[in-house]
Structure formats: C-alpha cells, structure tokens
Symmetry: C2
C-alpha cells in the first residue's frame, strides 16, 4: 500500500534525499563535510531569502524556538508573543519558562493576527525588546502577514527584535527573511525541506547577533555564539546529525532545481485544489477568512454526525494516506490535510478519492461520488 | 577507496542500519512508530543493562549532558564534577553554566579518576547533591572505574545522585547501569549504537525521576518530565529524529543478535590488537597505566620528529581511514585510533598497514615493515 504523507510534517522525503542516507557515513570534522555544510548553509539562505547566516542545530524545531528565546533575550525582558494556535502558545510558554516578561496576544484558533493589536500594545509599552510570532501556524493552517508585522514593528522601533517561527511555513508560502525585516527566523528539516526530522535552522540578523552578546540566560548546547564561531569554518560546535544534513543537502538541490518561487507556486496550486475538493464535498473550512489560509495545510471542520477521530484512522489504515487530526481543544472536531513538501496536485486527487470513501463510510452523504475529484480536476484543467 | 572510520564517533553504520533510512518516512504519531520506539527503548535498556526507563532525545550527546544537569539539580546545588579530559570538563562547565555549585576534581589527561579523592571531598562536604563523571573519556581513551565510584558514593550517602557520561563507553566496555548504582547515564546514537548522530539516550532511576520534580532550573525542550510523560505511551514530546530512530532500531537488533557481552568482548579484542600494533611499532601509549585504557579508542603519542598533524590527514587522504587527532592542548601531540562499533580485528590490521606506511612517509623509521601486522596476527592467532 502507498505511504502518502498528507500532513504538515513530517513530509515525504524524496528518493534522492533518502538514498543519500543509505551511503556510508563520513566523519564531520573533515574538509569534505565542511563543504557539505557550506552548500547546505547556502541552500538554507536561498530558501529563507536572506544574506544572514543560517545556523543548523541538531534538534527539533522546538529546540530552535527555545534557542531563539535563550540567546536573544535576558531575564525580565518585555517580549510580546503573538499566538494564533498551538505553536504560537508554545513560543509564549518558552518565553515564560526562561524568565521573559511575556505579553500575550492570543487569537481564537482559526484567526490570523492583526497588526493593530500589536501596535496598541507597543504604544503602551516603550520598553518592548522583542516580538515572537508564527509565520504559518501548523495547528490551524493560519498564515500570518509577517511582512506587515515586520514593517509596523520596525517603523515603531527598529531596535525591537522580530522573531518568527517559520517552521512549517517555509518553501510552501511566500517568505522573505530580509525584506520582511526579520531578525531571527527558525525552521525545521522535516517540513518544506523534505528531509527527516532532527535538524532545525535559525537565521540571525546583525542585530540578533549583537543581542546574543547581551543575553544573560544560561545556555550551552543551544548557544548561538558557540554555533556562530563554528559556522565561519562550516562546522558545528557539537557532533551534528550528519546523515540528516546529507538529506537536507539533496533536498536543497531539488528546491534550487525547481526554483523556490515555483516551489511556493506548486504549494499554492495544491492548496487551491484541496479547497476546491472541500467545497465540492460541502464541508466547512476551519479558517473562515480565505486570505488567512496558508499553502501548508488545510483545516476542515468534521461534519455533524461523523466521528471525527475516525477520519484520519481509516484514511491511514485502509488507504495508506496520513492526514492529521485536531490538536488541543479541537481534537475530533477538525481534521487537517497537509500539502507540504514533495507532493503535487495528483496526490491531492488521491487524497480526496480516499476522503470521499471514508466520509461515506462514516455516514456523511452530503455529496455525490466524484464531486470533489471533478471539482479538483476542473480547477487543474482551467488553471 | 574504503571509508573506514577508526574514530571514537561517529562510527561506521552497518548496512541494515543505513538501508532502513532510505525507506519512505513514516509519521511518528502512529501505532506503527510507537512500536518502533518501544523496541528501541527495550534495546537501550538491554545495552545499558537497566530496568529503568531510557529516554530518547533528539540532540547530540552534549544535549543529553545538559539535560541531566538542568533536570536533576537546582541552582546552587553542590555537585562534584570528576574530570579526566575534554568531556569531563564539559560536564563541569555545563554544571557551572546552569548555576550549580560545582566542585572540580580534575586529573591530568591520560590518568583515571581515583575514588579516594572523591571520598576526601565527600568527607568534607555533607551537602553534596550529586556526582558527575565520565565512564569512557573520548579525548584520551581513559576508562574510569564507575562500579567502584558508585559503590563508594552510595555507601557514603545513598541520596547523592550518581550521573555518568557513558556516551562513548557503552557497548564497547563493561557497563552495568543498575548494578553500579547509576541514577542517570547518558549516551549517543553515533558511538557504540552504530547509528548516525542526532539522538541521545538517558537512563533515569526512581531517585533521578523524583529529583526532576524538585529541580528549579528552567527547561523545556530537554524536560525529562515532558519526556517521561510521553515515554509511557512510547512517544516523545517533540517530533523526534524518526529516521535515526529507525537506524538505532536496526542496530539494537544487531547488538542483541551478537549479544551485548560478546559485543564488549569483540571491542576488547580490537583494543588488544591495537595495543600489540602500537608496541610493535615502538610507539608510546598516552595512557601509561594499562588498566586505565578503555576498549573504545587507543591514544598514541606522536613520535619525536614526526609532524603529528599530518598522520590523520594522510591516513584519510591516501588510504581512506579516518583516525582522530588530539584535542585541546594535545593537538598534534597525540593521535587516537578508534575501535568502536561495527568493526572487527581485520579492520585493525588494515589500519596498521596504513599506519606503517604513513609513519614511514613522515620519517619515523623505528620499526621493520610488517612488524605491527605480525604482532597483531600473532595475538589474534593465539587468542
């Protein structure tokens, strides 16, 4: 049976990026491996669209979020955490855990963040040191308008550090690290980078690098200063996940070959195809405002009368297609169809073929067989 | 050309453990993957020789050392750090970084730690909360007598947490987590576990688990409490390095198949074969006391007149054999021949064939061609 990962991570790893991991391992303290790290760093810069260094850490994305908090700030620093879902909340929680004075701006799940709300708080607090925000929120599929946030923050006070969780947004959605005035963006290997989990990436502006020098929060494994020192020599302070780096190396080559803007365009097409399918099945989107929906994952409300917990289970067990359920309070109430990484619109067709069968099996009859496939096909043909 | 990794990590990854990484990735929040995690946890327990839980973290070994420090202790806790080399120093440094009141016991590189020295300090300090020590010190090849330390510490005060860095020692040297009264041992995937780097493992005794509840040092990504909660369901709190876990899964099967005691015996044979080669070439061991030498790596003094920096370089460039140089103050003064992981005595023969050629090229003439090979062969035949 197929193993189709329609989730917002981990995403399918292309053959090139898998086969390279089957090769004999090489030692990391070698010229050969430094050249690989250099290529990977360049590939990361290309995807982040930045001239800044992009560090590679051996951890999950959460490790890199923690690293941003403990390296860029000091205890008691007033930092605004803008949260539109589970991972935004995690960023805020990380800040609180390590002693930052976090001001929360929380939105209902399914809504995007509003610049005006942030500005209100900035107007009342002249001593804000940084803003933490999510680019694409994996738990809901909401895409925040990072460009507008960057502009507004820096217009207000260019010394505020603008820190963005771009873990599941990168390579699927428009992202401009430098143009959007981002000081620190974090991402992970198992999302748009089409590699296995185990690596996290962090871009650092000059201002962010300066901030590291002033931070008083203890750090060792996640120290950006240690990492930056080794970065100059295309090395890492501690033994890195060599094999996963090889995989990212291959994936970066694939992204460069397709061209990052085309990669993003492909994701947009998949997103739109999924949306056509959802509409044709008379299902409701979790995110009401169309403009707030990212290209990474589409969240659908479980229709009344259907056992929401079973949709993903049967999709996987009967058809080999992995989709994601809801997190937190939305467990069983929503399901999430990922369209991230090494996938194309035909994978969307396969997914909706299965989805029609599963929904029907679970008692949902509000469509004719093939309705979603027809709608998707029509969209693809007329595109 | 061959790619023979005679280093104390990363070590060669067996074919089974490499090929599994070329397979399509599976999602981690599945029953299928939970079963893999369960098998891996069981395999880790088998190698650690423990009934305690062994957590899997996505980080290098240093990440797990940091995790031990921030989870088991509180700021100001008096903790003794016993250091016999670079990684012992790192453990002490980690303790200081996170606010522990570290009492250093440092030994000259090449010497092992003495129980009596620790007891002196324990006699004078009734408020010691823990002891950090290295099982096998990667930078020198020294093996500490962990069994005696455990017995002495617990005889003195059973409430002292006994924390052991077993990163490069496990599976090559005798190790008994429970019998040796260890509360927390850390290891890594890229050493005796014959998998790529990127995962770290942590065993926790009941007392260590209780200590986590009292610790006041901030932690999030490395939180043992978060990890223990998920451990019960064979899951991890954050997306783990799925592919590397698959590789460890295969390697654990291989270790079980060989039998851990036979695995250790094989490493002892390789160590002794290397020692025969070193003696036959009239080279000096860095560790003078034979009993202090572990089965993981053998450290050799660069003979006078030879450019020490070149030995490893030529071994790699001309013969495809990676050995390690000296660290810290011993750069260029020593070289380290690893014999760890998926290797056997014939790899030692290959290595000494190259070493004779390289030493000769670098002007060292204090042996006849084949001397080391003959000595190794004699040892192997008479064993």
């Amino acid at each position: 049976m197929r193993n189709l990962l329609m989730t917002p991570g981990p995403t399918p790893v292309p053959e090139e990026s898998r086969l390279v991991m089957a090769k004999e391992i090489i030692h990391h303290r070698t010229k050969e491996f430094s050249e690989i790290i250099k290529e990977v760093s360049d590939g990361l810069k290309y995807v982040f669209k930045t001239k800044n260094p992009v560090l590679t850490l051996t951890s999950s994305g959460t490790g890199a979020m923690e690293a941003a908090v403990v390296n860029l700030f000091s205890k008691g620093d007033k930092v605004i955490a803008v949260s539109v879902g589970n991972f935004g909340k995690r960023f805020a929680q990380l800040g609180k855990t390590f002693g930052l004075n976090i001001i929360d701006i929380e939105y209902e799940w399914g809504q995007s963040a509003k610049v005006a709300d942030l500005m209100d708080i900035l107007d009342k607090n002249s001593d804000v040191k940084g803003v933490l925000i999510t680019h694409h929120e994996t738990s809901t599929g909401v895409l925040n308008d990072i460009e507008s946030f960057g502009k507004a923050i820096k217009d207000k006070n260019k010394d505020i550090l603008f820190v963005v969780d771009a873990i599941s947004g990168l390579s699927a959605n428009e992202f401009e690290n430098d143009k959007w005035l981002i000081d620190c963006a974090v991402s992970g290997s198992q999302k748009g980078f089409m590699a296995p989990p185990g690596l996290a990436f962090v871009s650092l502006s000059d201002m962010a690098i300066e901030a590291c020098k002033k931070s008083d929060i203890p750090k060792f494994y996640f120290s950006f200063e240690k990492a930056l020192k080794e970065y100059e020599d295309n090395q890492t302070p501690f033994t890195p996940a060599i094999t996963t780096i090889m995989s990212v190396y291959e994936s970066c080559k694939l992204i460069k070959k397709e061209g990052i803007d085309k990669t993003i365009e492909r994701h947009k097409t998949m997103k739109e195809a999924v949306c056509e399918g959802v509409k044709a099945l008379n299902l409701d989107f979790f995110i009401k405002n169309e403009n707030d929906r990212g290209n990474t994952v589409t969240t659908v409300v479980v229709p009344e009368g259907v056992d929401g917990g079973k949709i993903a289970k049967i999709m996987a067990s009967k058809y080999g297609i992995t989709i994601a359920g809801g997190q937190g309070n939305y467990k069983g109430k929503i399901f999430r169809i990922g369209h991230l990484g090494d996938l194309d619109p035909l994978d969307v067709v396969t997914t909706f073929s299965a989805l029609e069968l599963v929904l029907s099996e679970l008692g949902y009859k509000n469509f004719e067989p093939g309705d979603s496939l027809k709608a998707i096909q029509k969209y693809l043909l007329n595109k």
